[in-house]
Symmetry: C2
Subunit: 356 residues, 2 copies
């Protein structure tokens, strides 16, 4: 799968330069590029630099505001509403997170609802920043409609991602970062691009029939994880990210790839709790080490080599890719190369063909 390899640092630099060339200030371009490369490092290539061409295209069309005035429009101390002014999702979300982290000193916990934002790539980027500050984080976002409500045959909800993270002492932080569909739609997009079939149970066609055709699945609806219970979680996310925030919801949210008629108006909801508002970080880390140690020491089910915690596999991949470089598939390389050439940022200097 790896046709080209490049270092995380150089890929981030390339990505930031390309986004800069499309109008983003350097610091914002670095925030966005940081999130995308963070996803690639963790092996979540569906949310990595493969998104740069569409991000650049929406910037070029003026569908995303490259110089947003991100403002707190309602402030109750430990509850904030942030208007992202149609800025890049990563810029708005990281801005809100930094505001929230400041609030924790005075309040211990804070909830932030975000409106007028855009696709923020993988939630683990923000989660990693929170846990590094010894903060527990929940982050939710809604998304363009791709999932039918439970019992329904027509798309209404997005794949509404759920992110939860806490530090875990000597272990990798717990980072649960998942779509509330059976799989992230990004994986179906990648499969469609590669002409691959998808497993049964991921999605249904426009008529509600099961399918393994990635393109038919993209036209139809993805299925929620865990039936009505997972659907309930996706609905919770739609309510707090879309309704309570004042953002778009349901079919009002434009598709990132296909709707060039209006801004996305994605919403998000973030809950931050400072660990030391509950107990010392030393005590928390010690207790987390007991929990993780005990779980990993459980007798594995038959056929399982090792019990992994949420985010552990991704952290291992990140260490490997930090060391050995990030693999890029040929079609991603080519798309980035074309885009780089169009704005004078050569990719050839950054990515080398992988050795067979």
């Amino acid at each position: 799968m790896a046709d080209f390899i490049c270092s995380a640092d150089r890929l981030k630099e390339f990505s930031a330069k390309v986004l800069c060339a499309h109008g983003l200030p350097l610091c914002d371009a670095e925030t966005v590029a940081g999130g995308l490369v963070h996803a690639n490092l963790r092996g979540v290539d569906s949310h990595g630099v493969a998104r740069i061409p569409i991000y650049a295209e929406r910037l070029r069309c003026g569908l995303v505001n490259s110089a947003p005035d991100i403002r707190v429009i309602k402030d109750s101390g430990a509850a904030l509403v942030v208007d992202g002014d149609n800025g890049m999702g990563a810029v708005v979300t990281m801005h809100a997170l930094e505001l929230g982290l400041q609030r924790l000193e005075r309040h211990g916990s804070v909830s932030i609802a975000i409106r007028n934002s855009n696709h923020y790539s993988a939630g683990s980027y923000y989660a990693a920043r929170a846990v590094e500050q010894n903060v527990a984080m929940w982050l939710y976002s809604n998304a363009p409609p791709t999932m039918a409500p439970w019992g329904g045959a027509k798309r209404y909800l997005g794949t509404n991602p759920y992110t939860f993270a806490v530090p875990a002492g000597k272990y990798d932080p717990i980072i649960l970062d998942m779509a509330t569909s059976v799989v992230a739609r990004g994986k179906i997009i990648l499969a469609a691009e590669r002409g691959q079939r998808i497993p049964a149970g991921w999605a249904v066609t426009l008529d509600g029939e099961p399918t393994t055709d990635a393109k038919a699945a993209l036209a139809g609806s993805v299925l929620p994880f865990g039936g009505p219970k997972g659907y309930g979680i996706a609905l919770m996310i739609e309510i707090v990210s879309g309704i309570l925030s004042g953002a778009g919801f349901g079919p009002r949210i434009g598709d990132l790839y296909e709707d060039f008629s209006k801004p996305q108006n994605v919403g998000a909801f973030m809950q931050l709790s400072s660990i030391d508002a509950f107990m010392t970080i030393e005590e928390f880390n010690q207790r987390m080490e007991m929990l993780v140690g005990e779980i990993k020491a459980c007798q594995p089910a038959s056929g399982v080599d090792e019990i992994l915690m949420p985010g552990e596999l991704e952290a291992r991949i990140a260490r490997k890719r930090q060391r050995e470089g990030i693999p890029l598939a040929q079609h991603t390389y080519e798309a980035l190369q074309r885009l780089g050439e169009s704005c004078g940022v050569p990719l050839a200097d950054v990515a080398q063909p992988a050795q067979a």
Copy 2:
């Protein structure tokens, strides 16, 4: 299934009297009885008055503190740690909720971690109180170990219930209240008591083998809903309810029915956000009515008559049972009758045989 019928009010009165006779002050007995009857009203009989005999037994044995000194032991304004002093779960949880509701006026949002508590029955009881105050609520609790970690064959986590609720204008409030196992263990307990088999996919035996035998399932492990994603949610709940709160976690939590050697030390985590910290309740209700109306108007999947929202079916059952009475199965009636007789509170005055 309905062998006896009784009015909700009279069943609540009976339940409170029985709990009083086991040492609870009247107001606390009413809080506990209110929660149990609330569950019965909503059709969640597994979490209703069928729990009174075990609650009474634990009170009688001194395993639950009938006069707890429930205290805030750490206070950061919008983040509190509450020590339940081994009080009844409903008493501790409702106390924490009322504290939290007061805090919302000053902070907009508040997070409360609870330690040294006990089984609180169904989360919907507290959720109903929150939504009536125009507050969005998340409530989590850990529970005695009955679920293996993902990839493991040995019980470690509980069925860790997840509750989320918001008002929904003219519609019934959204109340998502669910175990993070495929089904609540209470349903397996009821099946075992009734000698019924359980569906495949609910649980595995002590050796990790699939089973439909309810008793073997109770001895083995329940399965999380939605595979590794649902397990991730159950783990999140264990971390914030069990680790961050300072409560018991994993195998340290005693089984409600079987462990008479120590208090349970169940933990919980509650997140409250005042709707009006985000937008006016009028605007929120209007937006919720759009969301719910649009979802319910979706084309139903084949074989589905009507699209229901989380909590809608339960609210309908509650209206019916409020009107027509709560049905009690014979074995529940007999257990309550014996218990009532032992403390001079006759059930025969309350429950009438159902008409065939």
